[in-house]
């Protein structure tokens, strides 16, 4: 398998549960990177803490496994120091938007050239099934035995409002779309957000009687639709997937470089 060139095979089989969507995100991400022909040395992957964040352990790029919620802050530092490298930051929903929410909106606001991937399983997997800001209402979790009352964030709307210049959503069912979107997100110059619905059969699935991994993937197929589809008009409850935003704005490291040049003038 060509993708194996990017793996640290000595750590396989990986630690994720049977049917965990995070493995499919790893698969799709490597498909994108292989298609782009990137070398292992051109990529820096930075993650925080969570089941999702373990992804950095499995890929043979430059990798940093940092602290919960802070991956984007570390990645910002790396990117500022080495702007020629491709920064990829996979995060869990809690990692990205609970504890890491502040870093997330400010990275988006600066439009720094980083690819943020939100592996959204709507739950804290690693710590045993607590609800997250992406769980949404009426979800059962360890911390919500009588169901959640908190509305969830919409990652797409949040990212747009914060200033991200590439915003997309897909699922582990839509694997070809996933690889294609990740490729475009990496190529995009600016802050890119890719939200990927990724099943956690062990906690979200069990607690919410959502069935096994296969049932959860089927749910993504049945409850999502391409942006602006006819199906969406007929059934507004369907969740749209595809690329929502793709525009050009000054990128942070470029702006910083220009500032340095200006300050150095005549010296």
């Amino acid at each position: 398998m060509a993708l194996k060139a990017y793996l640290r095979e000595r750590f396989f089989p990986h630690l994720w549960c049977p049917g965990c969507g995070h493995g499919t995100v790893l698969n799709g991400l490597l498909q994108a990177i292989e298609k782009m022909g990137l070398s292992r040395n051109e990529i820096v992957m930075v993650s925080g803490i969570g089941c999702s964040s373990r992804i950095t352990g499995y890929v043979d790029f430059h990798t940093l496994h940092t602290i919960h919620g802070r991956a984007l802050a570390f990645a910002t530092g790396v990117k500022m120091a080495r702007p020629e490298l491709n920064l990829i930051v996979p995060m869990g929903d809690g990692d990205a938007l609970a504890i890491g929410g502040n870093h997330f909106i400010h990275a988006a606001r600066r439009n720094i050239d980083i690819t943020a991937i939100v592996m959204n399983n709507r739950i804290y997997g690693m710590t045993g099934g607590q609800f997250s800001p992406l769980s949404g209402e009426d979800v059962r979790a360890t911390t919500a035995p009588y169901l959640t009352i908190d509305p969830g964030f919409d990652v797409v709307e949040l990212s747009k409002a914060a200033g991200a210049t590439f915003v997309a959503r897909t699922t582990t069912f839509h694997i070809k779309q996933m690889a294609d979107i990740i490729q475009q997100a990496i190529l995009h110059e600016g802050f890119s957000v890719v939200e990927i619905f990724s099943q956690c059969p062990t906690y979200f699935g069990r607690k919410n009687k959502a069935g096994d991994a296969v049932d959860m993937i089927a749910y993504y197929k049945e409850n999502t639709t391409p942006i602006g589809s006819k199906a969406k008009k007929e059934n507004p409850n369907l969740i749209e997937r595809g690329i929502f935003v793709q525009n050009e704005k000054p990128e942070y490291c470029n702006q910083y470089e220009q500032l340095v040049q200006k300050a150095m003038k005549g010296r």
Binding site: M1, L3, H14, P18, G19, H22, G23, T24, N27, A213
Partner: protein, 68 residues
Amino acid sequence: MAKPKLEKHHINNDWCKGCGICVALCPKKVLELDDHEKVSALRPQDCICCKLCELRCPDLAIEVETKE
């Protein structure tokens, strides 16, 4: 471009966790789980080489080798 033809399904038994995703989502029902909860290609003659099993496997445990 000629249609790719199946050479072989390579299954990594050490990595496969028997989640059944490839089995359920194969459009031609080529795959099954065996008694040990590992996948095997029971009906390779029906395989259309779409590679969806390989692309979706969360454990990178199945590869579809094809020839032109």
